[in-house]
């Protein structure tokens, strides 16, 4: 027993030492010796990539923003190069947004998205975005308005900050999922530097198997969000005779498959409040106007997507119970282009604002 106690006494300091060493402090770099980029931009010139990083530098008195750029063969080579020349350690753990320049998306994102997913430090819930113009003006704009400490772009997408229902939110893992998926494509929000605001939303890019094949505008992005199940509350619909605000939405879908003809019945229930009327429309007229506007917008969007064989609404998901796995492989090419959708909008005018409608 004494021996046992002796051993315990010997083991305890050893353990204590090991715990000290392992409390996460191995090769620790303090926070003031790290550069924590918030936004990463990726562009392609010829065979080479160029990476821009937006790094906020906080000192006691003020907040500065540093923009670093470097070019090289692969993104990781560039990051390594930047790390080499930086006086502090580059730490991508808090990267919030990755912006691809439009040509990169058109060439194909698969390679870079895969390397982001593989990396240990880039979180897979980082937002993806596409820049409509070149990246430099956008970064200059972001850097110049240093009030938010470089977080404007993140806040722009963040649901509890500046996000609005016509802005698409897409994270890296969603893009990665769509690359191999049989039945689901993805839209990545596109942005450009705003005229008076820092950023302006220009809709979204349609990504099929990691490659940009088209684009949708902001109004269509709203429908995309609707199908994705992200609330559209707060969106304002402007029509000829009235302007309404969406207060609640509910979408129910059912699918049928008869002789290789896929059909979707979609019923959208909207609750709106009236903000403005032009002339003297009745409730019924307002409802009808909303229905027509949304249905026609939806039809154009779907037709464009079907022509590109890009299933951004994830309609294929609703046929997973009707098709086998082998058939699902051909969903995009065989069933989706000829898919019919019956889109019905049922509008409830919850209230008419502070004024009565005739």
């Amino acid at each position: 027993m004494r021996k046992c106690r002796l051993l315990r006494m010997a083991l305890f300091p050893l353990m204590f030492a090991a715990t000290m060493a392992l409390s996460g402090c191995w090769d620790i770099k303090d926070i003031n010796h790290r550069s924590l980029p918030i936004v990463m931009g990726v562009k392609q010139t010829g065979q080479k990539y160029k990476v821009l990083l937006l790094i906020p530098e906080v000192s006691r008195s003020e907040m500065n923003i540093k923009i670093i750029s470097e070019s090289g063969i692969t993104i990781n080579a560039i990051l390594d190069e930047i790390n080499k020349s930086l006086e502090s350690k580059l730490d991508l753990l808090h990267l919030k947004v990755i912006i691809f320049e439009r040509p990169v998306a058109e060439m194909g994102l698969a390679q870079s998205i895969e390397s982001f997913m593989r990396s240990r430090d880039i979180p897979n819930k980082t937002f993806a975005a596409i820049s409509d113009g070149t990246l430099e003006p956008l970064f200059d704009k972001l850097g110049a308005s240093s009030q938010g400490g470089g977080t404007q772009l993140y806040n722009f997408f963040e649901k509890n900050a500046g996000w609005s229902p016509e802005v698409v939110q897409t994270r890296i893992w969603e893009v990665y999922r769509s690359i191999d998926s049989y039945t689901r494509d993805v839209a990545i929000p596109s942005i450009k530097p705003g005229r008076t605001t820092t950023i302006e939303s220009t809709g979204a890019a349609v990504i099929k198997n990691g490659r940009m094949v088209g684009s949708i505008d902001s109004e269509e992005s709203l429908l995309y969000n609707l199908f994705k199940g992200i609330g559209t509350q707060g969106k304002i619909e402007v029509m000829d005779r009235a302007t309404v605000k969406i207060v609640a939405d509910r979408l129910t879908l059912s699918s049928t498959l008869r002789e290789d003809q896929a059909t979707i019945n979609a019923q959208l229930n909207l609750k709106v409040t009236v903000l403005e009327t032009v002339g003297d429309p009745s409730n019924v007229e307002i409802k009808q106007e909303i229905d027509e506007q949304l249905s026609s917008r939806f039809d154009t969007m779907l037709r464009a997507a079907q022509a590109k064989e890009a299933d951004i609404l994830g309609m294929g998901q609703f046929f997973r119970n009707k098709l086998s796995r082998e058939e699902l492989q051909h969903w995009r090419s065989k069933y989706y282009p000829s898919m019919k959708i019956k889109f019905k909008v049922h509008v409830i005018i919850q209230d008419e604002g502070q004024l009565k409608i005739r």
Binding site: C4, L7, L14, M15, A21, L22, Y176, R177
Partner: protein, 361 residues
């Protein structure tokens, strides 16, 4: 005194520690649709073997497995239990090495492997030295501390699921069970076998009621299903099959803006690592019991330090993750032996002993 609660806690802890890392990848690799069938099959095997094992033990209570096997002859016991001891040692090596690798992959990217392995081994050696009663008391403490975190993370992990990925529900491979004798499924049994053999070693030190244990084992089924289905429903089969640790990936996608911590994965990892350390100490204690019985010159502290040192050295010799996977595969025969032969022999011995006692009371 009935210590069923402690045994139940230990049972849950050891299994949970093993479920969430390697198991989902194996199940996802073994099938392309209808993963529920593989999970359920594994689970039925698990429950079946646990019941057989416990039944056999209860026939000859309060003896433990070693006593029981020795009552049938020393040579017999030695031959039967030797593979089990080898299996335990292999399991120690694999678990320590694999989990150290997982830790560096998920959050301690800078830390060298040997320190993590040393920490695991030092902690578990210490806990196992304190004896089985304190081991079980620790299990209660750890369960109380970490179950809430675990449950919260498991609930939150459903944030990004799309239930349509559940379908197609069945295909030919699922219906015919043709996946059973292939490598991924056999490897997935790793998660089941590790967690129940201790039930035979703890009597008479820690008494328990067999019925309660089997009921509690049923609680594990949702966790087995969740560990496989959350990544599948989040990513879809095509993408989920690309990850070495699908569940961790799925938890990584969870985004909660009101939580001040960015990654809930860390909570999850820390709680599971505590479970794993406890599991390691339990396995270490069992191995020592086996060693002590067969070779009397071993006394506890020296033997356990020697065992830990051996495991540590072997772990250092394993260079890469693919070697770890290879070792898990090599261990399959021993695992099948531990999963099927030991419970069945226990049952047979238990029944025959009972009969003898009935004949000459």
């Amino acid at each position: 005194m009935d210590r069923s609660i402690q045994v139940i806690a230990m049972c849950l802890i050891t299994n949970l520690g093993l479920i969430f890392f390697l198991y989902p990848a194996d199940i996802i690799a073994s099938l392309s649709t209808g993963h529920w069938s593989a999970v359920l099959l594994g689970f039925v095997i698990h429950i079946g073997m646990v019941s057989v094992y416990i039944k056999g033990l209860s026939k000859c209570a309060p003896k433990n497995v070693i006593d029981l096997f020795q009552s049938a002859g020393n040579v017999f016991a030695f031959l039967m239990l030797l593979p089990l001891a080898v299996y335990f040692v292999m399991m120690l090596i694999i678990t320590v090495r694999a989990y150290a690798e997982i830790v560096t992959m998920v959050f301690l990217a800078q830390t060298p492997l040997w320190t993590i392995m040393l920490l695991f081994l030092a902690l578990s050696t210490l806990v196992s030295l304190w004896g089985i009663e304190s081991l079980f008391r620790t299990s209660m403490l750890i369960a109380l501390l970490f179950f809430p975190f675990l449950i919260i993370v498991v609930i939150l992990s459903f944030q990004n699921v799309d239930w349509h990925y559940m379908l197609p529900f069945v295909d030919r491979k699922t219906a015919t069970f043709s996946y059973v004798f292939h490598r991924p499924f056999l490897q997935s049994l790793f998660a089941f076998v590790g967690g129940f053999l201790f039930l035979g070693f703890i009597p008479p030190y820690v008494p328990y009621q067999s019925r309660k244990i089997i009921m509690a084992s049923l609680l594990l089924l949702p966790f087995f299903l969740i560990s496989v289905y959350v990544p599948l429903l989040t990513f879809g089969e095509n993408t989920a099959s690309k990850f070495p640790f699908p569940f961790i990936m799925a938890v990584d996608t969870v985004d909660i803006s009101w939580l001040m911590f960015d990654r809930i994965t860390i909570f999850f990892m820390i709680s599971l690592l505590c479970f794993v350390v406890l599991f390691l100490s339990l396995v270490m204690w069992m191995t020592l019991q086996l060693l002590k019985r067969s070779m009397h010159f071993f006394n506890a502290p020296i033997a356990s330090v020697l065992l830990a040192a051996t495991v540590f050295i072997v772990c250092l010799l394993v260079p890469s993750w693919s070697n770890v996977e290879q070792m898990i595969w090599w261990n399959t025969y021993l695992r099948l032996y531990a999963a099927f032969v030991i419970p069945l022999v226990t049952f047979a011995l238990g029944v025959s002993r009972r009969r003898k006692e009935v004949i000459r009371p």
